[in-house]
Symmetry: C2
Subunit: 707 residues, 2 copies
């Protein structure tokens, strides 16, 4: 009717007409959908079913889309709730009639093992150029068009778009929205995701002016790299809040003790979300908290937060929580303190928190917040309301301060019914209310970090290197082979000599300079230390000869082919660097403490590869014990630049060498100047030995260890 | 009126009559208190004020307590809200008339710097045998006697007693109680705590049959050891939930890198709460969650939890959270699985969570929970309610299962208004409802741990050792002095020889057997490593002589008096053991990783001393890297028995040696068999050097370090 023909996903969210496919008999799913659409205020609604049955509010009913089209009705979106066996035919009918968007609410497809039925839908969709959500989905919502083709609760209107893989979880969020004070612009649940998925909706919502914030519930990404790219583009223009379930299934950090088991873990998702600028939250309550803040706050430009309260206890609890999440609760400057002292009675406490006591009313909250926000980045205003305080007035004071200063102010009205009068005032004034100060500061910290990340954002897409192949034939490269290869990549390998006799070993050791370490080279030795395959601190030719004889004896049935002689390294911090391939996200790079310490402490930082040096430095900062690399009790600081450069370079290798399944550099000796790779394990794609293996660690304390 | 004369704190909670002291004029605090008492249903209420003014509901008003007594009125509790300057006189008046309990609501005392006024109250109370709460407190509540002498909201009746140092925080909790579904038996806020404090109320509530659970908000304990004892006795009969604010003030774990800065930190509170069986929570919401569970659940006897849901997403989020808090979400046994499969349609998922899908109604929840709880310890029942599900029926099914099985069942009805009908059914059935499954499993985990601690509870009160004094005179004991002293205590000190010349050093080294370590002994050397005061791996007499000369040269201006020669220790794990004195709790014992690692990782476990060996083993389990002590990649397991015995013994020393301010054993070498103290630092009480010092750490990798 004069409306523009929608393009792309607009057909879903701005259709010129919606047809519900399925019986409209009382209590049937088709009827519930029609009722929702009509009650929500959308028009025109059509019905398509074998009997051409209508329902109250339906503009026209027909037996097919062709019939509707023939009668001059324009339908942009088909909402299909007919039995699974009929869906493909109905989709085809819709496609023939020129409908290009469908929401398949019907279930009974891949989720029940009926993959063929789902593939049939995809084929039909391809043939007719239809895009669809589902099957087995909960439909969609566009509050700003009064469009509710869904079985779920109609949520209040607002600026948050929710994309949910799970229909039920999406439904729970929508039902809870009003109570939580969060409004939605759009909602879509894509169920089995046979056609449209996470990536498509992130792309669409990026350009959607009606959406300020995107919230996403994921069980698994459809395509890791595509998701990363879509999310990166989205977060360049608006915030993305993600719940990713299945943390526990991966076994968490406990499995991260070595790079070999990095693949597919939840920690890779964590890294990916960080890299694409998404804010990961743990559950629905936190998601609501964050969205409430994002929808109302101006940007949180820093971490200096002031807490203004009328009660000591809750103020202190908020302070504890604020420091725990890394906010800066510096006390007021002398100037501010003087101004506050002039404004307030002497019994008020002028630290941070600023405690107005129960005497604090509208004027005190307004004036104190306004003054304080001249020097703080954000504020939390706590009102522990007693039956004798007018919460609405206090709220008015807080709202005024937020308006006047243009800075983020979070409210916490803590006392159930006695504070209820504050809520409408806060909502009207765009000041979000949080159940506790602890939850308010958690949101401020998250948003401040997000803002900082935005400002520090670097778009680095390192050049795609020329493809090449690993040397040799074996599934696991021998150490000399791997070291030569790493050296050829320009990586810092140690001086080394391969020796095939006791005499060669003695000569090599003398040439390198004593003391040296002598390591077995044998195709059957997986972990050198398991067979006593390393002799350290070899200080003479005599010792070198005897070390050779010892090692050749120990590995005589294990394909012994010589020893590698390397100089001893002292006073190094042992680190590890590794790459492996994640089934969702592809190459992943890991950095951590090396040696036994790594395994005992599970102290590893991860990224989806490739990364640059700056990102490698950020990873080091995420380790629990980053201080080991700094100057420390008389020990020198380590060469972070050289280390970061190594990490960045290693993160490129899986792209350059598509046959590299996994690379473990452990230990890497971090020195005062430079770094040296201490040991290497490289596995070729197809190597069975890669999975379930244990990492190679050094058992002796004497080489380059942490004191 | 025929009622028993109350004794002890009964006068507060079961008074035969209550008199409010202060003006009863409209809007005055005295009037508000009278109104609260009357509206709450208590009788008889009296008023005492200079004009002998009454108010509606007051049985009699008088100018003094003497006048009331003269008229035959019995008053057990005086509630004083008159101006600060008048309180002492009013208290005296009450005391003369035989009143032995008072709640001083009035403020204007120590909290405003008026210490003398507060001391005057204490003197009057002593003279007349009065016990009082306050001043500057919010009064008290006994819902079971309809007694509300408080300015705060009257809470719903229930089984939780709340003791709050902060009146305002207590008030916030009471106001929120109804919304949170938690009822209270008693409430008391003790404000400045001039007389009665935390310890008194814990003692009283232990024997209070009307209280099933005690909740406590603390800013600081009045007396650490007395608190520990009172809390220990309380938790032997009922659970204690504590919020202790001020976590951040102490700077958290970051300050725990060495034992010297343990004193007064929040971590000592953490340890104390653990030792006395209290459950520490972070904030008010968590406190409500835990109290709701404690008030409703039967004991949580284990960690095997089943999640029954009608929606995948929230089920998975709860599973993630459950595993994160250490619950066991094993799948159903084959038998149970078979029974479930017979009972349920094929589209239900029979893992853990058990997903009933949206088809799950009253009967499914009831039957599935009943069957599952035959093999699980507890259950979480999640209903993501859609507008088309009858939440009350689902709730009825859950309640029936909880009744039939007698096991803890937590409910999570996730969808705001659409699930509201469930709440009355759940409350009537004593099934607590949690906003999310994540919060439900957090409570179950906390209670399961608490229950396990109860069962494993050992009441150990080691014998008080005979008092003695440290050897020598200096504020810091020299190393030979300290080692001799430790040896005399039966602690595992190394073989060692003090040498005063190069020749003596060479002889000593040869006698001990090469290689040895040689350490400087000099009164002016605080940290040996700072001056290069340790030479390791001395392998010959020649080297021993040169080491002596080197060390004597380095410390020549630092009171050099010789060197200590000790055998080198290899392949040890370095640990630390220390004791210090906390201002609140007295002697504290710490265990952690030793050497530089300790400082980098802040990995320390704490206890209020003394402890026994079993507790020392528990401490080791709390370290982040307990695996370093176990058998590990070919390294032997360490002698935990010997280490625990050392820790227990060391934890007794501050009691035996009251002049021992601080003792630092770092490193302690944990070996395959036995342990050896590597270095010691002992400071005498009065030593200025104790505070703010940095710990002694070993800079070289070669002795007994972690590989």
């Amino acid at each position: 009717m004069g409306e523009k023909v929608p393009h792309g996903l607009e057909s879903f969210f701005r259709p010129r007409g919606v047809a519900v496919v399925g019986s409209t008999g009382e209590g049937k799913m088709g009827r519930v959908l029609v009722d929702q659409l009509v009650a929500g205020g959308y028009s025109p609604v059509y019905a398509v079913n074998p009997r051409g049955e209508g329902a109250p509010g339906v503009r026209a009913a027909a037996r097919s889309f062709a019939e509707l089209a023939g009668a001059g009705h324009v339908v942009d979106l088909a909402v299909i709730a007919s039995p699974a066996d009929t869906v493909a035919a109905m989709l085809e009918d819709a496609g023939r009639a020129g409908v290009h968007a469908a929401a398949v609410i019907a279930s009974g497809f891949a989720e029940c093992g009926e993959k063929a039925k789902e593939e049939a839908l995809v084929r039909v969709a391809c043939t007719y150029g239809i895009r669809f959500i589902g099957p087995n989905c909960a439909g969609l919502v566009n509050t700003k068009r009064s469009l509710f083709p869904t079985l779920e609760t109609r949520p209040p209107m607002g600026d948050v778009a929710l994309v949910s893989q799970s229909g039920a979880l999406g439904g729970a969020v929508l039902s809870w929205a009003e109570e939580q004070g969060v409004g939605f612009s759009k909602f879509v649940s894509y169920g089995n995701g046979a056609d449209l998925t996470d990536v498509d909706f992130l792309d669409y919502l990026r350009g959607d002016d009606e959406t300020k914030v995107v919230a996403l519930y994921l069980e698994t990404v459809s395509d890791g790299r595509a998701f990363l790219e879509a999310a990166r583009q989205l977060t360049a223009v608006k915030p993305l809040v993600v719940i990713k379930s299945g943390r526990s299934a991966a076994g968490g950090r406990a499995t991260l003790s070595h790079t070999g088991s990095l693949a597919g873990t939840d920690a890779v998702y964590d890294a990916a979300f960080r890299q694409c600028g998404a804010m990961r939250v743990d559950g629905i309550e936190e998601m609501f908290d964050v969205c409430r803040g994002l929808a109302s706050f101006p940007p949180v430009r820093g971490k200096r937060v002031v807490i203004v309260t009328n009660s000591g206890g809750p103020g202190v609890l908020s302070t504890d929580a604020a420091e725990a999440v890394g906010l800066d609760l510096a006390p007021p400057s002398p100037t501010l303190r003087r101004r506050l002292a002039e404004r307030l009675p002497s019994y008020c406490s002028l630290g941070n928190p600023i405690d107005l006591t129960v005497q604090g009313g509208e004027a005190e909250y307004r004036d104190v917040l306004s003054m304080a926000l001249e020097e703080y980045d954000a504020a939390v205003a706590i009102d522990v309301n007693t039956p004798y305080l007018d919460a609405a007035l206090v709220a008015r004071g807080i709202v005024t301060a937020a308006k006047v200063t243009g800075k983020p102010v979070a409210a916490t009205f803590m006392a159930g019914k006695t504070a209820a009068a504050a809520l409408p005032v806060l909502i009207a004034g765009s000041v979000p209310d949080f159940p506790t100060g602890e939850r308010a500061v958690a949101v401020l910290a998250l948003l401040a970090n997000d803002q900082a990340r935005r400002l520090g954002r670097r778009e680095s897409s390192p050049p795609e290197p020329a493809k090449s192949s690993l040397p040799g034939q074996g599934l696991i490269l021998s150490e000399p082979e791997a070291m030569d290869w790493l050296g050829a990549q320009g990586l810092p390998v140690p001086q080394r000599r391969l020796a095939r006799s006791a005499e060669e070993a003695a000569t090599a050791a003398a040439a390198l300079g004593f003391p040296v370490a002598i390591k077995v080279v044998a195709s059957g030795v997986v972990h050198k230390t398991d067979v006593g395959g390393v002799v350290l601190d070899v200080a003479s030719k005599v010792s070198a000869r005897s070390a050779f004889r010892e090692l050749s004896e120990r590995a005589k049935d294990l394909g012994f082919c010589g020893v590698l002689v390397v100089p001893m390294v002292r006073d190094a911090v042992e680190m590890l660097v590794g790459v492996s391939r994640d089934p969702q996200f592809g190459p992943v790079v890991a950095v951590g403490l090396g040696g036994v310490t790594a395994e005992a402490l599970h102290d590893v930082a991860l990224r989806v590869a490739p990364i640059d040096e700056a990102e490698a430095r950020v990873m080091l900062g995420e380790l629990r014990a980053p201080s080991l690399l700094g100057a420390f009790r008389g020990r020198p600081a380590r060469d972070l630049g050289a280390f970061a450069s190594l990490v960045a370079r290693v993160s490129q290798l899986p792209f350059q060498y598509p046959d590299l399944a996994e690379l473990d550099l452990n230990p890497v000796f971090a020195l005062k100047a430079g770094v040296v790779i201490g040991d290497v394990r490289a596995a070729r794609v197809g190597s069975d030995a890669v999975r379930g293996r244990t990492p190679s660690v050094r058992l002796d304390a004497n080489q380059g260890t942490i004191a």
